[in-house]
């Protein structure tokens, strides 16, 4: 019976992984967060502290909402070894429809939003059909889509269509109502939400750990969980205070667009990590033949990926139209590149199969901070583009080199 004692003692050893092991094992997934922190600190310094003023933080999210939203969809597309080049064109076209719906068809803002989301889904289904059921590569299908929908956008919104509905226009710029009033210069609701989130995070972390221990599965060391909780509490607390100070005398706190982003991240994180569909996306990207031979309906999964991309493009076009307050044929130029870049900076594998939502979101934020920091410093937009381009290349190069050094 020496054999069984050997295995049990080995199991104990693996269960008692130390804090150091955990940090080392996850250094790659934290690297991207560290990069974001470094970028923020650098620009905080370069801009003399102007980057992290409350209103600049809110603007960061409002201006980059479309990148974060489309990057979620793009992430799934890239994991499944495809690409979507049509994002910007679709946003322009759907925006045009929304603006016409409100101006010419007399729809209220809510119906217009529904129409825009439905059109987004329809476009997603259209592209998904060609990719999944006919087998036209995503690159080609969406290259066609890029030309097609840019053309259609020009047909319907060749002259810009203004949006007059104030509720619609406020989607991108409004804050959640401050139902708890102001506590000093802090928005009450923001403080409450911030605290609830931090406490919920801590409770969930410990519950997950206890559950794992109870079931005799491998658990994270307590020190590691505590460290995570302390860091989240500090960063979350600082962020809460920043947000709570934002806005003006009458409104402020959590911007509506941030709420939309957070909701989408939560939903899609769950979908990608906890559902069969999410697992299938990774399975297709990692080894399509093996996925098929395991009974996974790869066509339906691929169709759903594009359907979903269409939906998120619908959401992004609502936000974009609301922010610009008018639909033009030129809206959304190169938005797809922003989404793709966010995914790659966030560690999504160019060859598919690997990628996370937090990674892609941090990738989007890094781009956003670069944009905002450089523009606060008054750097010419052309140079901003140059710098962003280099960052994308460096990010992927870093990814590849760090993988190589592991072997």
């Amino acid at each position: 019976m020496t054999d069984s004692t050997a295995t049990t003692s080995k199991k104990e050893v693996t269960q008692q992984r130390t804090l150091k092991d955990m940090l080392l094992a996850n250094v790659r997934s934290y690297g991207i967060f560290l990069a974001l922190v470094v970028v923020i600190l650098v620009f905080q310094g370069l801009t003399g502290g102007r980057l992290l003023t409350p209103n600049n933080v809110v603007a960061l999210f409002q201006q980059n909402a479309y990148v974060m939203i489309t990057a979620i969809g793009m992430l799934m597309v890239i994991i499944a070894t495809d690409i979507d080049l049509s994002v910007g064109s679709v946003i322009a076209f759907v925006g045009g429809i929304g603006a016409i719906a409100m101006r010419d068809w007399g729809m209220n803002w809510f119906l217009a939003v529904i129409i825009m989301l439905l059109i987004g889904l329809l476009i997603g289904a259209f592209q998904g059909f060609w990719v999944a059921y006919v087998g036209v590569p995503g690159f080609v299908t969406t290259l066609g889509g890029m030309l097609l929908f840019r053309g259609l956008a020009t047909v319907i919104a060749g002259e810009s269509i203004p949006v007059s509905d104030n509720t619609f226009r406020s989607i991108a710029s409004a804050y959640l109502p401050n139902i708890f009033g102001f506590w000093g210069n802090l928005d009450g609701l923001t403080v409450v939400v911030g605290l609830v989130c931090i406490i919920a995070y801590i409770v969930l972390q410990f519950r997950a750990r206890n559950k794992a221990v109870k079931n005799g599965l491998q658990a994270e060391p307590t020190s590691y969980v505590v460290l995570k909780c302390v860091l989240v509490a500090l960063i979350g607390g600082y962020f809460t205070v920043l947000l709570a100070q934002s806005g003006n005398e009458t409104s402020g706190g959590i911007p509506v667009s941030l709420l939309i982003i957070v909701l989408l991240i939560a939903i899609y994180w769950f979908v990608l990590n906890r559902t069969v569909y999410g697992r299938n996306v990774y399975a297709i990207g990692g080894n399509r033949r093996a996925a098929i031979l395991s009974g996974i309906d790869t066509r339906r999964t691929e169709f759903c990926i594009f359907l979903n991309m269409g939906f998120l493009e619908g959401v992004a076009s609502v936000i974009t139209l609301s922010r610009l307050a008018s639909a033009t044929a030129q809206t959304g130029q190169s938005f797809e590149m922003d989404a793709i870049a966010a995914c790659f900076i966030g560690g999504t594998a160019v060859t598919g199969g690997i990628g996370t939502i937090p990674g892609a979101m941090v990738g989007a934020l890094i781009m956003g901070v670069l944009n905002q920091g450089l523009s606060i410093m008054g750097v010419n937009a052309a140079w901003v583009s140059v710098i962003k381009g280099l960052v994308v290349i460096f990010a992927v190069a870093y990814d590849i080199l760090s993988k190589r050094s592991k072997h």
Partner: protein, 522 residues
């Protein structure tokens, strides 16, 4: 043959480390000119690492020790350096370009030129010569992807001959070949060394082949040189001694003792036909019939090209060929499997050959791969029950003795044997009535093979029927209760394993007479 003291290669005190891991620990080998030198060892013993050091894949400076080739110390910094001296390595995974022609592949990287243009006329003449030497009769304009693995292997060797090879290293050259092709390949190498004075180092898991072909056998275990055996007509290789040295313990029986408890029929396939996907007039399975009973392990023997995998793949959710037809009876009821998931849901599982290409997602971890085919048990309303998922993965990790730090280890980091165990866990966890295994032990070392056989036996004991496709006849004889032979799309025999032998099976595998209707079902 050259004298025993004509040393072409000596590797002295080679030590190679990867970070904290010592892959090679003071390895010493000496190879005489004109001999076939076989390197044996379990997977992970360090054979491939040693060959990579020799051929310059791991350049000078990354290892300790000396490589003495033709009496001079060599400091290869790349494969190109070693090739210039006439050392050519042919890797297990062939390095040919599938969509280029035989001719283009032969001269890839070393094109004959006339000015700036490629001189195809000269290339054709040279190609013809080397292809004749290796006994390959194909049109040089054929695309590599249209050749079988056996012929691709010959193209690789022809390519080595073009590089003026003196010392040829073959890493598992026969792993993907059937017995016939393997024998032809080894004969050809024997011929080349007689006519051209070629020296060959062969890494192989197939002990019979080593016994037949090698002059010298070097056993490596855990990165160390363990023993050296000289083989000649008077001193044939004792395979038991070889196995003992390889695994470090005497392996008295290479197949576990097992008595089957055979129940009623679970799967019956009648008159199964399938057409080739491209050449749609050609039948690949010409009316195949067989059955599997509960608790029974049934073998399916055949040479490559017999249509075994194609038959299994086409039954399993039409994953091969077109216009398949025939009758499938599962547990007494006629069924159809229009998709893979319908087959899995009704209790048929198929662990495919080539686990890296068809079996695993190497980017995902053991847990994720284990549950890949089993979500109907692991998910409610599309949401995965994570605790259940981890428990099942953990259970099979433990039961199958998979060597991995945890269920969160990416399958890409595992050795072949352990990867195969994950594939088996994936299918066994679906609780199949019938499990089809396609070459379950290919490229796996002796110790892990034994453990895989034990898993197969356990599965049969739990009441599942097992259909095992294998190109290794001793394995089929050692593991199966009953063996079908297949030849050129037809079933030619059905034999009880304890009443037949390799010679008889081989006879039926090359026969073209179909089995009589009465004998086909048990």
């Amino acid at each position: 043959m050259a004298g025993k003291n004509d040393v072409i290669l000596e590797m002295r005190h080679i030590t190679k480390r990867f970070g904290p891991v010592t892959a090679l620990d003071d390895v010493n080998i000496r190879v005489n000119r004109g001999e076939i030198f076989s390197v044996c060892g379990e997977n992970g013993a360090g054979k491939s690492t040693l060959m990579n050091v020799l051929s310059g894949v791991y350049g000078y400076g990354t290892y300790e020790g000396d490589i003495v080739y033709n009496g001079e110390v060599c400091k290869f910094r790349s494969v190109r350096d070693s090739e210039q001296k006439g050392i050519v390595i042919i890797h297990q995974e062939l390095a040919l370009q599938p969509y280029l022609s035989v001719l283009d592949n032969l001269f890839l990287g070393d094109e004959r030129k006339k000015g700036l243009a490629i001189d195809t006329a000269t290339e054709r003449v040279e190609a013809k010569k080397v292809l004749e030497q290796v006994g390959l009769d194909v049109d040089v304009d054929t695309l590599i992807s249209n050749l079988g693995v056996g012929k691709q292997q010959l193209v690789e060797i022809a390519k080595a001959l073009l590089k003026n090879v003196k010392l040829l290293i073959l890493d598992e050259p026969t792993a993907a070949l059937n017995d016939e092709d393997s024998e032809r390949l080894l004969k050809m190498i024997d011929h080349l060394r007689r006519t051209q004075g070629l020296t060959a180092i062969i890494i192989s898991h197939k002990l019979n082949e080593i016994a037949e072909s090698a002059d010298e056998v070097q056993v490596i275990r855990d990165g160390k040189t363990i023993s050296h055996i000289s083989v000649d007509a008077e001193h044939p290789l004792d395979q038991n001694i070889l196995i003992r040295d390889m695994v470090g313990r005497p392996l008295t029986n290479r197949y576990p003792e097992h008595t089957s408890h055979i129940g009623g029929e679970v799967l019956r396939v009648e008159d199964w036909k399938v057409h080739h996907p491209l050449d749609t007039h050609r039948l690949v399975a010409k009316g195949v019939s067989f059955n599997v009973r509960a608790g029974e392990i049934v073998g399916l023997a055949g040479l490559i090209g017999a249509g075994r995998t194609e038959t299994a793949m086409s039954i399993f959710g039409h994953q091969y060929g077109v216009e398949s037809s025939g009758k499938i009876v599962l547990d007494g009821k006629p069924v159809t499997f229009p998709t893979v998931s319908s087959a899995v849901e009704q209790g048929v599982a198929y662990a495919t050959e080539d686990r890296k290409v068809y079996g695993l997602n190497l980017l995902q971890n053991i847990r994720e791969n284990t549950s890949m085919a089993n979500f109907r048990h692991l998910a409610h309303m599309g949401v995965i029950d994570r605790v259940k998922e981890r428990k099942i993965a953990q259970k099979y990790l433990h039961e199958f003795k998979t060597k991995a730090p945890s269920i969160e280890t990416p399958t890409g980091n595992l050795s072949g044997g352990n990867q195969q165990k994950v594939v088996l866990a994936k299918w066994v966890s679906t609780d199949p009535k019938v499990l089809i295994l396609d070459e379950p032990t290919r490229g796996i070392d002796v110790g892990a093979k034994y453990e895989i056989y034990e898993i197969i036996d356990q599965l049969a004991d739990s009441g599942s029927g097992v259909l095992m496709i294998s190109s290794e006849l001793p394995e089929l004889l050692g593991v199966c209760d009953r063996i079908y032979t297949m030849s050129n799309g037809i079933i030619t025999a059905c034999k009880k394993a304890d009443q037949t032998n390799q010679e008889e099976l081989m006879r039926y595998m090359t026969s073209s007479v179909p089995i009589s209707k009465e004998d086909v079902f048990a």
